[in-house]
């Protein structure tokens, strides 16, 4: 028993030794052959889009240990003309082609033995450098601490605010007691009583004074009137409306972090009245590949499978009596989306930022200069306008305030 165990151990150790020797031999052999620095730039320019130098699959297979899997002659043949190798019936090539959903690799006819050797040398170098990577992980861990600190900071601010408010309360109470003394004219009145008694005496004395009484009543009457009027003016204004949508789509992620242009999805914004809500095929341009498993994205998949439109909730809604055209404002007027819609690229849930009232429209039409530069359409208008006024041509001057432009 014991002896067999010993032999097993010995065998394992010798195996390890052989593997270690082989790898060093392999490394040194290629390192002599290929120029890893040149390989790196070749790899980054031509291969990186689809292949990882490690063993993960990006589009095509990871290239780690490629020199062990395939010999150089095969690699050169493959890189020069992958389709030819597949057509020739090469077993490995056909299996590879089928494994990756029959997606064919781009041919690089200009690549010869030197280029392939350089790239292989770089791939090996990249994999030997992996061991050094864990040291860098410490830095990322430190970054996590910053987030925790900022939430602590928030608590400190809250506590500080609370203290300030308590101080203000104290000062107010002091003022009340001083005022009450002044009003009642009895300096030192109720000195002997408790704080509650003092306060009550002070308030009673104040309420007896008719000037203070009527001032208070008027103050509140005005406040109530203002609140009522504000409330009435707010009827029909949906500013701040941010309804929950059927799919938790984040503009902050798509337009903010990934900087996808608004036009990419809202394709109608330069062409027509409506900016258009993207159809599911536009979502699929990315999500046919990215994050397919997410439950929110699965909702798009099921909408496509059932052939039912996604019922987004309309956020910005102009009354039927007013006409608005996106193309006129974005394409002709050159406005940025954010001017009316706010900082959409920071919104997790889209919110109506502007009031969309008539006053708001008119205000902008009065203030905005028309961009007449290098546009023959405006030449005569500018000339006529210049005869009457020395101010620049505004939207209001070319009919931007005419009723029938928007109401008809």
């Amino acid at each position: 028993m014991k002896s067999s165990l010993f032999f097993k151990k010995m065998r394992n150790i010798s195996r390890l030794l052989v593997v270690a020797m082989l790898t060093t031999v392999g490394f040194s052999a290629v390192a002599q052959d290929g120029d890893a620095a040149n390989g790196e730039s070749l790899f980054n320019n031509n291969c990186k889009a689809c292949h990882s130098a490690k063993d993960e699959v990006v589009v095509g297979p990871g290239l780690k240990d490629i020199q062990k899997r395939r010999d150089l002659a095969w690699l050169v043949k493959w890189v020069k003309n992958p389709n030819g190798v597949i057509q020739s019936g090469d077993e490995y090539a056909v299996a590879l082609y089928n494994k990756f959903n029959k997606a064919q690799m781009t041919a690089f006819p200009a690549f010869g033995e030197t280029e392939v050797k350089d790239i292989v040398a770089y791939i090996e170098k990249a994999n030997t450098a992996v061991a050094a990577a864990p040291a860098a992980a410490g830095a990322t861990a430190a970054a996590g601490g910053v987030a925790a600190e900022s939430s602590d900071l928030f608590t400190y601010i809250l506590v500080a605010l609370l203290l300030v408010m308590l101080l203000v309360l104290g000062v107010l109470l002091a003022i009340v007691s001083i005022l009450s003394k002044a009003v009642s004219g009895e300096v030192g009145a109720g000195d002997g009583g408790s704080f509650g008694d003092k306060l009550r005496n002070g308030l009673v004395a104040m309420s007896k004074n008719s000037a203070i009484r009527s001032a208070t009543v008027w103050f509140f009457v005005l406040m109530v009137t203002k609140a009522t009027l504000d409330g009435l003016y707010g009827v029909g204004i949906q500013q701040g409306y941010a309804p929950k949508q059927p799919i938790a789509f984040s503009h902050k992620l798509h337009a903010g972090q990934y900087k996808i242009d608004c036009n990419y999805c809202h394709t109608g914004v330069n062409r027509g009245k409506s900016a258009t809500i993207p159809s599911a095929n536009i979502c699929m341009n990315c999500h046919g590949v990215i994050k397919k498993e997410s439950p929110e994205i699965q909702k798009i998949y099921s909408a496509i499978e059932e052939n039912k439109p996604i019922q987004w909730v309309r956020v910005h809604n102009l009354p039927d009596l007013a006409y608005f055209n996106h193309a006129q404002h974005v394409n002709v007027g050159g406005l940025q989306c954010q001017q009316c819609h706010g900082e959409i690229q920071t919104m997790e849930v889209v919110q109506q930022r502007s009031t969309l009232t008539m006053g708001w429209c008119i205000d902008c039409h009065r203030k905005t200069d028309v961009n007449t530069k290098e546009n023959a359409y405006y030449d005569k208008l500018v000339q006529l306008h210049a005869e009457k006024s020395d101010k620049p041509l505004k939207v209001a001057d070319i009919g931007g305030l005419e009723c029938s432009k928007c109401h008809y």
Binding site: N45, N46, A49, C50, V58, V59, A103, T106, A107, F108, A110, S207, R213, T216, V217, F220, V221, M223, V224, A227, T228, G231, G234, V235, G236, I237, Q238, G240, Y241, A242, P243, K244, Q257, Y258, K259, I260, D261, N263, Y264, T267, K273, S274, T276, I277, S279, N281, I282, M284, N285, C286, G288, V289, I290, P309, R314, N317, P319, D320, L321, Q351
Partner: protein, 196 residues
């Protein structure tokens, strides 16, 4: 005395109640005469109730089967007038597109400027500002090529037009978003990026 105290307390309560009436984000607020908000005519993207005329209850109707969109019928470019007709070269016939197609849009400074703007709208987030395949989405998406790489350096107009229309490899079809005219302009701008 008591009356005044009650009056003051009462007003406080009313003001507090009114000012706390801020509506939640899910509430569109009060609408005066909602029938003036909700269009009687059929508006795109607005549907309040089920449509009794269309069988599926939607206001929108799908085009008649077999309808072909000809978005650039009789399109004019500087001096020449070209009909950008229907594009009927199939997805798998990239080689045909490369051999047959010619860019009808004249390559001028204006075209390049328009091409750049269109590239910014439809391509840049993946393909990157310089076409190096380093846009912000590319890290996540993977497999975005560098236009300056050997395999892509000599793509011709037909190739670019075909790939925008039908997609290639991991890239999906963008024909529904980008009109034929816009695709030709983008092709001009991509040649500029290839040269660097």
């Amino acid at each position: 005395m008591k009356k005044i105290n009650t009056l003051i307390a009462g007003t406080f309560a009313v003001v507090a109640a009114l000012s706390s009436c801020q509506r939640g984000h899910d509430d569109a607020g009060l609408e005066y005469a909602p029938n003036m908000y909700n269009s009687v005519g059929y508006e795109p993207y607005t549907q309040i109730e089920k449509n009794p005329i269309n069988a599926d209850g939607k206001n929108m109707r799908e085009p008649v089967a077999g309808t072909v969109s000809r978005r650039n019928y009789k399109t004019q470019f500087d001096s020449s007038s070209v009909d950008l007709m229907i594009y009927h070269i199939g997805k798998d016939e990239l080689a045909t597109a490369e051999a047959v197609l010619k860019n009808p849009v004249p390559n001028t400074a204006k075209t390049l400027a328009e091409g750049k703007a269109l590239y910014g709208r439809y391509c840049q987030h993946c393909h990157g500002e310089t076409g190096a395949g380093d846009g912000p989405v590319a890290d996540m998406y993977k497999g975005v090529p560098n236009y300056k790489a050997d395999a892509y350096l000599n793509m011709n107009d037909g190739h670019i037009f075909h790939v925008i229309t039908h997609g290639k490899g991991r890239m999906w079809a963008h024909g529904s978003q980008v009109t034929p005219e816009e695709r030709w302009k983008i092709a001009h701008y991509i040649h500029k990026l290839q040269k660097g």
